[in-house]
Symmetry: C2
Subunit: 346 residues, 2 copies
DNA sequence: GCCACGGGCGAGAGCGCTCTCGGATCACGT
DNA sequence: ACGTGATCCGAGAGCGCTCTCGCCCGTGGC
């Protein structure tokens, strides 16, 4: 009960099958050049002994770990209030396990964590990394780049650090924002306000840019900075109502803030969408469906983005192993389209 | 750029410091018995070379991986619609990294995945496992037990498989349910209905039991099975209104279903809480705060539960390494208390 | 001044695997 | 019958580390 039964080794299997270690290895790893008769005998021995290869020993020689790190750098709030993260993880997980890779999750909160994560990634425990939710000026990309670890970013990383070559997957935040605002305009609204996300994240900046693309000459007081939380949405909405009581539409940087805004609007007796139309971003379920009224919002295919990130990384990994590096057609960025989901709020 | 610089080995550090591998190993692993002068020289060499130990080589001999698996067995729905999962992960992650352990995430959806996960766990890649969201009759515990891997379950596992010894952490679902129902009764309600969760999960069963503890002689038509989703909550609510139009309170098995129920009630012109009081379970944010009206619900300390799971597992791991196994005072179950959060819905 | 003792250090084996290389074996052509 | 490849398999080295031994040197007791 207490002792773990000593696991059988290649040697043991070899002995039982009456062959050499090398042959067993060949069979186990599916390389050809073993006569069927022998292979069969080996397979039986494996079966009987319940042999499972020791991964540590294997990667000691192959220098491959068949594992990739997923790094989520998020100081609490956003990721954990929302299924976004979970969805993307799921996409990644699917893709990874389909290629027999393991997923090592690294959650970070503060700066100390970053150092730790940097060390871990540099330590060669994993073959590559998938990195999320970077804030502008995050030191992590720098560390990773120095470690020389193949990496794909989720969301456009901040361009400041000369990380021009970085591969990333993002949704078309700017285009989605434009669609949202145009939709509002199409509804006949003219005083369209925008509650931005935390502007130290590129997604928030890009959405703001999209807003400005369409509302180039808007009253600057119609833009208020939020922080992606419901409470932030409420604060921002109050401020907007205060400064521009005549607004007739709000585009919120995400659904959480939109939900907060909705509450404040109700509180102030503004009817949605009659008096003020509201559009969110993310189509974060179940929130977007459960607000009163249900939220018109911009959807992105989160899970697929996750899958793609994983796929790009794996491709890079194989490429590196195979021959000349990653020049072989790996795109440096993939932008996913967004779609406007019409519900009742706008 | 393409080639990963060959990482320095113990040997290299030893050469540079003019000592033997053994000494470097001693210094790196913090064991004493090395004179300060030498230790210092070694440390400098490590620094200069940027040496990081090769984990694979190390675990090959130590048989320790300093990694634990987190297994989430969930066919889509629940876990991913809710931050529950993320919170718990965060708790686990904190505790694990505090003890220099890595978190290997295994997400499973279907039966094939289970086999794969079973193989992985049996493969000795990790030192232990944290397992979540089991459904009744899940084959996983059986597989894990056979693999002899130290394991802690999140949520009471189904008792059927003779897994009496299983260590688990759960919240007091039954007690929480009792509190919720008593609260409703305290409000003067008498026709209290219950929308259960998916009854193939022990949490749903326990909450139902709690409901019955208080409502022993209730009209059986007041209990309807749901599935933990908003849509399921809506369906169940419709059915309840149909069968028992005179109900004056609803206790939903979780907040998502409560949100669905709220919508149906509104649709039918029932005012909450005036006509019908509603209580949920989980205090799933931001949903619970964003419903109309905000939801009275039963809160559990998710993150702390995660931490504790990790702590129990690590303790077990150390115990096993140390001497005689886990008899040294590890509890076989820890039940967390719940607290009723009063908002506007009841 | 000699021996016993103990602490600090190095030599070397070995963890379980992969992979190269060369030896056996066999079919075939001459 | 013999050489010639091609094919299949085994021997053995070596991946980077830990850990046991035993050597060496310094210290103390007589």
């Amino acid at each position: 009960m207490t002792d773990t039964a000593p696991r059988p080794t290649l040697e043991a299997v070899a002995a039982r099958a009456g062959v050499s270690r090398a042959t067993v290895s060949r069979v186990v790893n599916g390389s050809d050049g073993v006569r069927e008769r022998l292979a069969e005998r080996v397979r039986r021995a494996v079966e009987e002994l319940g042999y499972v290869p020791n991964q540590a020993a294997r990667s000691l020689v192959t220098k491959r770990h068949d594992a990739v790190a997923v790094v989520v750098a998020e100081p609490e709030t956003r990721v954990f209030a929302d299924p976004f993260f979970a969805r993307q993880l799921r996409g990644i997980s699917k893709e990874l396990t389909a290629h027999d890779n393991q997923l090592v999750l690294l959650l970070t909160e503060d700066r100390d964590d970053h150092a730790r994560v940097g060390r871990y990634l540099a330590g060669g425990h994993v073959d590559g990394a998938l990195v999320f939710s970077l804030h502008i000026d995050d030191p992590l990309p720098e560390l990773i780049q120095r470690a020389g670890l193949p990496t794909v970013y989720g969301g456009r990383p901040d361009g400041s650090g000369g990380r021009r070559g970085a591969v990333y997957v993002d949704s078309d935040n700017r285009g989605g924002a434009r669609d949202a605002v145009r939709h509002l305009l199409g509804l006949g609204r003219s005083r369209v306000a925008h509650i931005t996300g935390a502007l130290d994240q590129t997604a928030a900046v890009d959405r703001l840019d999209g807003f400005r693309d369409v509302m180039a000459d808007a009253d600057p007081r119609l833009v208020v900075e939020g922080d992606f939380t419901p409470a932030g949405g409420e604060r921002a909405m109050r401020r907007l109502l205060d400064r521009c009581p005549d607004l007739d539409a709000v585009f919120a940087g995400n659904d959480l803030m939109a939900a907060g805004a909705l509450r404040v609007l109700r509180e102030h007796g503004r009817r949605v969408p009659d008096d003020v139309a509201v559009v969110g971003f993310d189509d974060m379920l179940p929130i977007a469906e459960q607000t009163e009224p249900p939220l018109t919002t911009v959807r992105q295919d989160i899970e697929e983005m996750g899958r793609l990130m994983a796929r790009l990384l794996l491709r890079d990994l194989d490429g590196t192993t195979a021959s000349d590096g990653n020049a072989g057609g790996t795109p440096s960025a993939v932008i996913f389209p967004t779609t406007l989901i019409r519900r009742a709020s706008a």
